[in-house]
Symmetry: none
Subunit: 155 residues, 2 copies
């Protein structure tokens, strides 16, 4: 059974300085790299944001990718699209991380960012993009009701 130690939630806003550094919420630091060597993995999210995984969580994903066959073009491509954005990183003495410029562009990050705890990972959003994504959602929609029901989500 999966342990519940590394679960993230909550939302925080931080500035991104001229060197591409952003603070990690103090509450997340322990869960993000429990093994005290301060390492974790930043990568591209499926939505227009970044995802940050604890190292062991990312290794779990990599292990599954290794089971795919390198002989099938589709599977090679699938692996590549996931792995090529993943960058191991550490925080500095102040608990900040430096986000690679490639990833800054991809997530459209400039001066500020919103950090969201998202169960097994952390999300980093451009505040505007997060808002517009949220605006698309309509929770009165039947689609959402059925999603909740099917998955027995009783709020």
């Amino acid at each position: 059974m999966a342990s519940r130690t590394n679960t993230f939630s909550g939302q925080y806003q931080y500035s991104i300085d001229s060197k591409g550094r952003i603070n990690v919420p103090a509450k997340f630091r322990q869960s993000l790299s429990p093994d005290s060597d301060d390492t974790f993995v930043i990568t591209r999210g499926l939505d227009p944001c970044l995802w940050i995984y604890p190292l062991e969580e990312w290794e779990r994903i990599e292990d599954n990718l290794r089971n795919l066959s390198f002989l099938r073009p589709k599977e090679r491509q699938f692996i590549r699209q996931i792995v090529r954005w993943a960058t191991p990183a550490k925080y500095d003495k102040q608990g900040r991380i430096t986000i690679p410029s490639t990833l800054l562009e991809i997530a459209d990050l400039q001066d500020n960012a919103i950090i969201i705890g998202y169960l097994n990972k952390i999300e980093v959003w451009n505040p505007d993009n997060l808002e517009s994504e949220a605006a698309e959602v309509d929770f009165s929609d039947e689609e959402y009701e059925s999603l909740a029901t099917q998955n027995q989500i009783r709020l």
Copy 2:
């Protein structure tokens, strides 16, 4: 259990100079030749790119090839197709490698290249070719969703 020391990920862009030299990402150098003699193996990829293996990883592949029978024409051919592109190489004092002209042509490499960490190896791509390959991928595609589901890849 396989060790996790030699796992590659992330994407970097570098120039290829007039001598066919290209830089190896500093983050990869240690994993690429842990035994401090700076040796590794460059070869042709199955996609239109080059693959670079740590020496021991390549030796593992060679060991498997040795188990094939030299008596069967098909197997002789199979071995030949894999082995004949593999070139041992070292980096220079600055951490660059000189790519043989044959392999430069095969991977269609000119002025710039993108280097991708790909689990047990490194890929070297012509930026344009990589982009067109990537354009084929759509993670909302049913094919990819089923790939992820079947292999229990939970991002």
